[in-house]
Amino acid sequence: MPSTAVRARGLTKRFGDVVALDGVDLDVSSGQIHGLVGPNGAGKTTLLGLLLGLAVADHGQLEVLGAPAGESLALAGGVAGFVDGPGLYPSLTARQNLSALASLRGRVDGSRDAVDELLGRVGLRDVADDPVRGFSLGMRQRLGLAAALLGEPRLLVLDEPANGLDPAGKRQVHRVLTELADSGVTIILSSHRMDDLTALCDEVSLLSVGRVVFSGPVQKLAAESGELDHRLVTSDPAGARSVAERTPGLRVLTGRRSGSPADDGSLFVRGPQASVEDLVVRLVGAGLVPRELGPVVSQLEAAFLALTGAADEEEDAR
């Protein structure tokens, strides 16, 4: 197995005037779980579609499992997955969906036992003989994952696999994916939820309007967060405000912030970690008690917003 499962250089894909991918580089090592994250329309689905051979890039090179991607639909064996929903047939039962697909693919083991084993793995054994018509979004996602696993792929490409899953389902899918990765399967998945990805991924790539703005380990992404917004609640909002205004490196944000109850006396400040710590010292010195102090969004989310430019937009909107 090549140690690099996916290698992309300068991938560009346009749809008319829309540049969906704009010079994307991507390296994913074998056995890694790699997350693609980015706002709506960033190009995640487009990139995953290229990996599945559903479309061909206009420019750039793409190697999947050591084989260069050429024409559409001609890809290295061992790639499986789905983009834009798991694509199931509602009139067939869960079991029929899997066994029909298995016999379509031919070489995979479509025996009842193998199918049952897969259904058990994604937690659908109890509804194996129910038509997919009645399945919830989360059940469909799980069945789609099972379908992708039928061919014992070496590269699994999943577009928003956690979409619609309840916390238990999410944990179960995460467990399945982690086990697969441990057995050497490379997994590339997309999400626009940072928390999903941090729990699962070795590395993430952050896409923004067709470009990769960050690629690397999740911890490194956190460092990109820059200045974080903090919410401060004290016994004396007016006093706290004047202390904060005098703290070097710290900016007091005005206006209402989304996600906070109106007039709960909270104050929003922005600045580097050191200045925030300085503020605490000064507050205590001034005899004010900080009841609550914490970042408004997680570090990763802040990095996401900072790198995709969403933070600026939010600022501009005010």
Binding site: M1, F15, L73, A74, A76, G78, G87, L88, L104, G106
Partner: protein, 453 residues
Amino acid sequence: MSVAAATAPTRTTAVPVLRGYRFELVKLAAQWRLRLVLLACLLAPAVYTGVVSRQTSLPADAVYGRWMGQSGWAGSLVILVFMGTLVLPLLTCVVAGDIFAVEDRLGTWRHLLVAVRSSRRIFLAKALAALTVTLVLLGALVGSSIVGGLVSIGSHPLPGLDGHAMGSAELCRTVLLAWLTALPPTLAFSAVGLLGSVALGRSPLGLLMPVVLALVLEGVQLMPVPAALRVALPMNAFLGYRGLLTSPTQLETLWIGVGVSLSWAALATYLAYRLFVRRDFTDLAYDGSGRRFLVAGLAPLAGLVVLTTFSVAVATGATGSGVDRAKLETALATSFSHLYVLQTDELHRPAVTKEQLQTSARCDKGGDRVDDTGPGADWRCVVTWTLPGASATGTAIYQLDVAADGRYVADGDGPKAVNGYFPIHTPTGDAPNPLWQFDGFVDLLDTPPRGTR
């Protein structure tokens, strides 16, 4: 790295068409709608023939409708006539018209492409699956209509469309062949269904394409269009069976219908294929393009109509409506002589032969001021024949309602002893008078009628 992993990367080969075909059949078989349609095809013709055959008022509007109480084979022919009007195009809508669109509705294209890895093979698999299901449904209709008729009435002789008597063996063979002639036009409509399904995606117009086409063609058939155009339309191929019901058979129109239908089937399938393999499957919002359908779908088919019409006109020399006095006179005289022999037989009178009768007919359309040509309900004919052993000649009058497609209904207008009464009193009880009202047809093509002996 394991040993297996060190091997060179293998390219996935596309799934063989046969496996794709099986996959399509599994999906089709799971569709409730299709199961209901199959059930209807299995039951409706049998129930219809079973019930209607025992009634006193028979569907005389349909060719052979008036014979349903006499022979079980008539029911199957009546069903065949119904099928050719709208039902078979409708069936192709449900099968071929939906087979591509269903993936659009379910959003499963990408999934299927990833699994099969060849849009060419997906097309083949789907087209073959649609063909198979269409054949199954057609087979169900054939079987059900025949069984229904034979069980309720039994296998009895019937006159052909030229009046000649057909026994059970000939009927069995002819009815099966007649159904077989419905296959090529059904394939043509199926192919149009594929085209609509590929080109217009989820839009209902795509699904209904075969029926829309059938309605348009029916409309054209109702208009006074030249015979060459009429014969060159796939709808007319549903009438090709009529040539099998005469002795000798008149197969020219039938073969033209087969040729036209297969050309439509081939062209429409090719157009659908071309549109399909060029489709951009990354576009989720794809809903087909009406303009592309017009340019890449309808325009070539319209071209085919022009081409086939021209070819038929040149090859057969057919001009005008195809209905004229000479053809009607020949057809009517032939039918009358055959049916007269049948009536004589039923009344247990001394046997006569068709040759002894020396039947002739003189027809006139709408009096003196109207040209004796073209379809209409105002044809009036006088049939003359010689009674063997008597010096006198018999005459009988018929009002003819001639349809634009060449079918006519002859309605006896006296004398009462010959064609005026229904039924006739035979020694074994009352029976329908075969000379009272009967169906026949003229071949629209301008060739000398070969149905006379």
